[in-house]
Amino acid sequence: MELSVIVNNWKFLIVQGLIGFGPFIGGTLRLAIPAIALGFVLGIFIGLARLAEARWIRLPATAYVEFFRGVPLVMVIFWIWFIIPQLLRLPIPEYGVALTAFVIFEAAYFGEIVRAGVQSVSRGQVEAATALGMTTTKTMAYVVLPQALKNMVPSLVTQMIVLFKDTSLASIIGYVDLTKAAQIVNNREIKPFQLYLFIAVVYWICTYSMSRVAQRLEHRRV
């Protein structure tokens, strides 16, 4: 198998496509890292809202989660792509569209993880914190969430890996990530087998190392 196409273009594929430095605004990592961080933060709010006592908070959050878990991510990307320019009446770069779509979509999944994590903390902890005179907010911030976070680690990492893989869909609207970079090179060189297998290996190295780190974290915890 001839690998010169990889050797000749590795800089474009890795530096531009994976990391995001180069002539295009792009990069898988430049999209994935903020999307994970912001999606998780929004997910915390949604997860907590689903557990709220007040119906007017709980029901919208539940509807949000059920809605986004029932539609494909591709659909959500197209929604954002068409609607944001209509609403703001100005063109938004692909990066903004992709990041918004991922944060909104993945927050529904992160929200479910947060909810399950909070529910896994035993009721006695909340009662003890209340007995000590802590307010609800303080109980959440200092007692429940830190413990919940520990229980969430495995499913959080799984979801991060899913999000990392999902960022490849940003290439549909023209964002130059690793997948799009391979497409660009392939249009010139026509070596699809080598190129797509190569980026598959690159994606695999990233996701597999993420899951290894997660395994190590879990072992240290127990």
Partner: protein, 239 residues
Amino acid sequence: MTYTFNWSVLWSGQSGHWLLQGLLTTLQLSVLAWLLAIGLGILSGALRTVPFAPLRLAAISYVEFFRNVPLLVWMFFWYFGVPPLLPRPVQDWLFDHSAEFWAAVVALGVYHGARMSEVIRSGIQSIPRTQFEASVAIGLTTFQAYRLIILPVALRLIVPPGTNESLNLLKNSSVALTISVAELTFQTRQIETYTAKAIEALTAGTLIYLVLCLSIATIMARVERHYAIPGLISRAGTG
């Protein structure tokens, strides 16, 4: 916002026909890929628990490699990468018989087969080892023990996460639009292109996906209750 809604684009012209076509293609693609995924999932999931290292290793490599790479990459790989390596007559036949559809079936099936395998393996592993030992003790071969004891119980444990994964497959079939399979998302985009009514078209597509997913989830919840083994799975408190 200066957007004038015109919902009639959805039933005038060809839109309705396109949506129906898209829905049918999505269903065909999903069902075929699902069958492939289930087959691969059962095979590799079961192989990962057998006491013969090379088979286990092959199954583990399949699962770890395929599920950790984005589906979109697999779509491009199976559609653009693989056919040129096939013999000329096969290639010609493929491109006469909607190659993009079959590439999408294989991409979706092989990718979800690896994920299904994880679901199946955890189902099999949650069955106590003593069940297997008891079946061997009463004189069943390993194959018989799997076919008659382990798999019938495991399949019931697998239904809830398996449903979840099947719905993921259905939603992921939308990725096939990148290799121009005329499924539901593709047709939604087509309506948008022809009518310039993005919000109406996307609403129609989104609603169809929602109804599809929610009704499958409801049906499967019933099936789960029907086939649940009393005392083995407690459904109380789970959604």
